[in-house]
């Protein structure tokens, strides 16, 4: 349903942010795009949203070419980007101004209810916490009922607890109508929690380095060995994309193991898992 066909993006200053990225996403998939900074993952999302134009190649949603923002594609940014002069409910209604009043009211109320902020409808954005603001931003994107929702590091500015809560929340929302989600993140755990497929990108120029299908059952247990294993595989692939740039750090196992079990134990194992060429 979402077809990315060999897109490249070259900025006027000559930087090639993306080169020849192709990807097909099925309806209802959750694709997480991970990569180090400068790998073009945010650029990719901007091209999918139609806010920027590809230099080569194209993006299609249900066969329609995306050349400008499209009603079938919603976007949630890294920050809530709420309009400070509108109350929460009016912010949520921002994109569906053309709908009849009753329909609009009903959708906004339902969306706020769904993100657990029904009692905040009349408040100002300045009165919200970061996590609440991002929930409103998600509600604003979802009331327009897009078939594809793009999320650009949506939870990266939040603390770990709020982030985990919002990840679960996003999954609940997704389970409702099963829109296609494309999520850019630099948080591998987030990718493994959410995604049905993980795309690892590498920089210079930005391109796809590896893709993983994540077939863990939902709800996913962040502490299970299978979860850990998936995380490690993504991390390895990511590490591979970076190893060309920097010298790998080899962490020596401690000479005298402490009596209690410490977090340091994992490091020895991690170092042992590095690709052969890295050490």
């Amino acid at each position: 349903m979402l077809e990315i066909d060999g897109i490249s993006k070259r900025y006027p200053n000559g930087t090639v942010a993306l080169r020849g990225v192709s990807l097909n996403v099925d309806a209802g998939e959750i694709v997480a795009v991970v990569g180090g900074s400068g790998c073009g993952k945010s650029t990719l999302l901007r091209l999918l949203s139609g806010l920027d134009h590809a230099s080569e190649g194209g993006v299609r949603v249900d066969g329609a070419t995306i050349s400008a923002p499209h009603p079938a594609v919603g976007i949630v940014f890294q920050e809530p980007r709420l309009l400070p002069w509108l109350t929460v409910e009016k912010n949520v209604a921002f994109g569906i101004k053309d709908l009849p009043r009753r329909e609009r009211k009903a959708r906004v109320a339902a969306a706020l209810e769904r993100v657990g902020l029904a009692s905040y409808a009349r408040r100002w954005p300045r009165e919200l916490s970061g996590g609440q603001g991002q929930r409103v931003a998600i509600a604003r994107a979802l009331v327009a009922r897009p078939s594809v929702l793009l999320l650009d590091e949506p939870f990266s500015a939040l603390d770990a607890f709020t982030r985990a809560e919002l990840q679960d929340h996003l999954l609940e929302l997704w389970a409702d109508t099963r829109p296609t989600l494309v999520l850019v993140t630099h948080d591998i755990e987030e990718a493994v929690v959410l995604a049905t497929r993980i795309v690892v990108m590498q920089p210079n120029p930005g391109r796809i380095a590896a893709t993983f299908d994540v077939s863990l059952e939902r709800p996913r247990d962040r502490l299970s060995p299978a979860f850990d294993d998936a995380k490690r595989r993504v991390l390895l692939a990511l590490d591979h994309t970076l190893s060309a740039k920097r010298k790998p750090v080899v962490i020596e196992p401690p000479q005298h193991r402490p009596a209690t079990q410490g977090l340091g134990d994992g490091n020895g194992f991690y170092a042992a898992q590095r690709p052969a060429g890295a050490a």
């Binding site: 976007i75 309009l83 400070p84 002069w85 408040r123 100002w124 954005p125 300045r126």
Partner: protein, 279 residues
């Protein structure tokens, strides 16, 4: 101010703490604000009364108020106040409309800005009194030239304020509008104008202040009524009390009109998340 949801304690707080710049003053700040002028008046009155100072060129408050009372009794004061206020009002409206339109066009369109802004900035550097002879030649000595001079004075701060505010609107918020496929008109009406509104109010207040300044210049160039006429007349007949009385009336009118402007715009600014709101 009751746009804010009443049940919310944060909103209730912002209603209690009216801003010093906008909605008004608490009793204590009213007292503090008037303390200094009252003190000066008492000291000067006493100094003249006890013969410590000669009150001929700097009349004591009692004589100023006697003059004011005399002018008010004869109905002359009202006539002058009306004439001056009407000129300021007309000039302010004309200057505001022109300044807002020009600022908005130059702010929205980079091409218009490149064409018109250098010229306007050049004209802005001309001391406005320099226009007086030209305006008298063009528009005659009566009302038209006066109102145009005031409008010119009001135009520049508003043009500059609107232009600057447009240019500093957060790109991220504009992008929200683009993501929801707003037309250019809707982008201006639903994003840009509300976003610049706080800065616009400041520009309006600056423009109004200049309107009061320019009305004096306008009335100096030959008027048979108005507070500026009172000033010139006071000088010619050697009545400093009349001059100071007219100055006092200017102060009161200027402050009053500024306060009314703030009061009228305050309900639209309750959403602001600013330093003043938090005080």
């Amino acid at each position: 101010m009751t746009i804010v949801h009443g049940a919310f304690e944060g909103a209730a707080q912002t209603q209690d703490h009216t801003r010093t710049t906008a909605a008004g003053h608490g009793p204590s700040s009213l007292f503090l604000g008037t303390l200094l002028p009252i003190l000066i008046a008492i000291v000067w009155e006493a100094a003249v009364h006890f013969g410590l100072a000669d009150g001929r060129l700097v009349p004591p408050p009692s004589r100023i108020f006697a003059t004011l009372w005399e002018l008010a009794q004869s109905g002359e004061l009202l006539k002058h106040v009306e004439a001056t206020s009407a000129r300021v009002a007309l000039g302010f409206v004309a200057g505001t409309v022109a300044g807002t339109l020009a600022g908005a066009i130059a702010g929205y369109s980079a091409m218009a800005r490149r064409i018109a802004d250098p010229t306007l900035q050049g004209l802005r550097a001309v001391p406005s009194i320099a226009w007086v002879p030209l305006f008298i030649l063009w528009f005659g000595i009566f009302e038209t030239s006066k109102i145009i001079l005031i409008a010119v004075g009001v135009f520049f701060p508003i043009y500059l304020g609107v232009l600057g505010a447009f240019l500093s609107v957060d790109r991220k918020i504009v992008e929200v509008g683009r993501a929801f496929r707003l037309s250019s008109a809707a982008l201006v009406g639903r994003i840009l104008l509300p976003a610049i509104f706080p800065a616009y109010v400041i520009a309006l207040r600056g423009g109004l202040g200049l309107g009061w300044m320019f009305v004096v210049a306008a009335e100096f160039m030959g008027a048979s009524e108005g507070l500026g006429y009172l000033l010139v007349d006071g000088q010619q007949v050697g009545r400093p009390a009349q001059i100071v009385a007219a100055i006092l009336v200017f102060a009161v009118l200027g402050k009053l009109s500024d306060w009314l402007l703030s009061l009228a715009t305050a309900p639209f600014l309750t959403w602001e998340d600013s330093f003043a709101q938090r005080q």
